[in-house]
Symmetry: C2
Subunit: 223 residues, 2 copies
DNA sequence: GTGCCAATTGTACTTTGGTACAAGGGTGGT
DNA sequence: ACCACCCTTGTACCAAAGTACAATTGGCAC
């Protein structure tokens, strides 16, 4: 019996998502949360869920903070981001941060069901038209951030987990413990990450990655 | 003849500040900038200014980004932050980031003049009533950020410069070069910083410091 | 002056971080 | 079967980071 967490502060949205989940899964146990604290508490008590549907904007956190926290604390739980916004940058960034899918609230229920099934099978989902759209060519220095994001997207799933833990300031040893792998392996991942991101120290990687989250979200929140 | 840069996107504000600067300094050379790019360009050409009056919200940057950039690129130039907002947290944070003063736009001109003289003499200025006000006791996890900010405030000026450069992902060697000191000294500073901030790696320090800027500014921007 | 503190630098040492190279196991596609 | 890719691990080595201790300089306050 798969455990599915639905986290959204709006009851109506939770209701709609519940329907989709029931259609996509076989006898799911659905757990609802109205704010991030409840999600974290719930995950702590049950260890890991089979799927987490997470709204971007909830009491307690705006933007990707929630996603980042959940992913770093409970990397085993796949997360699908639910959002009222549909900016392609948000989609790319959510996926870059380890989300297994991005579902705009305007998505038809049939497609939501398909998306959830896809993710449950280990795939990742994102709305086609959004991803295909070319990244908006910002004339200013914003371009560098976008370049960097593109590079983040070339990271493998495990490498993203490492990057996320890197972003909390953890040592290689701690990351190894968290992911239950050898420190050697962590080093290998870090090395690969640094190359892909074209930086020469973990701190730089963290700084660059840190710029992504809040900055690009702030852009959207303002506009 | 002291070189003073006034950076604000609003001509009227620049005019008012010009008057104050002319009253506080002896035959100042006043350079006006309407956006951050101009400030950086100007500083590059003249190396360092005797004072920079910097508005928080300008085209090109919101929040402390501008302050951080200027401070890290041109640590020799004292910066006084000009802001329409007066949140005590902003004041403390601006000072934590290396500003030599914080002047709300509502400040009477006489006091602005006094403030500029104070800073020119090597002091730091902040509005009395604001700093004395106790930090708002946030009931939630926000408290940790505030604790951290308090610790940042215990850093010496040079240590703050090091922290800022740390925040750009630079190596000790690079920081040493930028500040024109020995790498040994940088290590000594970093060591001291880590102790004061109660973290055990530069990356953690960077992560924690990174949380301050945008987060607490976002809070204010929303309210 | 004396004392305190920031800042500087040095030596010497330990711990992390990061690279290079090699290699085995697993998955998925052709 | 073969290839490509991811994940894993190991060894070995080098660079960077961090600690500990000691010392000098200069400013500022009492």
């Amino acid at each position: 019996m798969p455990q599915i967490i639905i986290a959204d502060d709006h009851p109506m949205v939770r209701g709609a998502l519940t329907l989709a989940v029931e259609a996509a899964f076989d006898q799911p146990e659905i757990l609802e949360c109205a704010h991030l604290g409840a999600v974290m508490q719930l995950l702590e008590s049950i260890g890991a869920a089979d799927l987490l549907l997470l709204d971007l904007r909830m009491p307690g956190v705006d933007g990707f903070e929630g996603l980042v926290r959940v992913r770093s604390q409970f990397p085993a739980t796949p997360v699908v981001v639910i959002s009222a916004l549909e900016d392609p940058r948000l989609v790319r960034e959510a996926l870059a941060l380890g989300a297994m899918g991005f579902i705009p609230k305007s998505t038809p229920r049939a497609e939501i069901v398909a998306a959830l099934s896809l993710v449950a099978g280990g795939g990742t989902y994102r709305p086609d038209d959004l991803v295909m759209a070319a990244p908006p060519p910002d004339p200013k220095g914003q371009a560098t951030d976008d370049d960097f994001l593109q590079r983040v997207l070339t990271l493998t799933p495990q490498q993203r987990r490492v990057l996320q833990l890197l972003g909390t300031g953890k040592l290689n040893k701690e990351i190894a413990y968290d992911l239950d792998i050898a420190e050697t392996t962590v080093k290998a991942h870090v090395s690969s990450i640094l190359h892909k991101l074209r930086v020469y120290s973990r701190t730089q990687a963290v700084v660059m990655a840190g710029r992504l989250h809040l900055d690009s979200f702030a852009d959207v929140a303002e506009g």
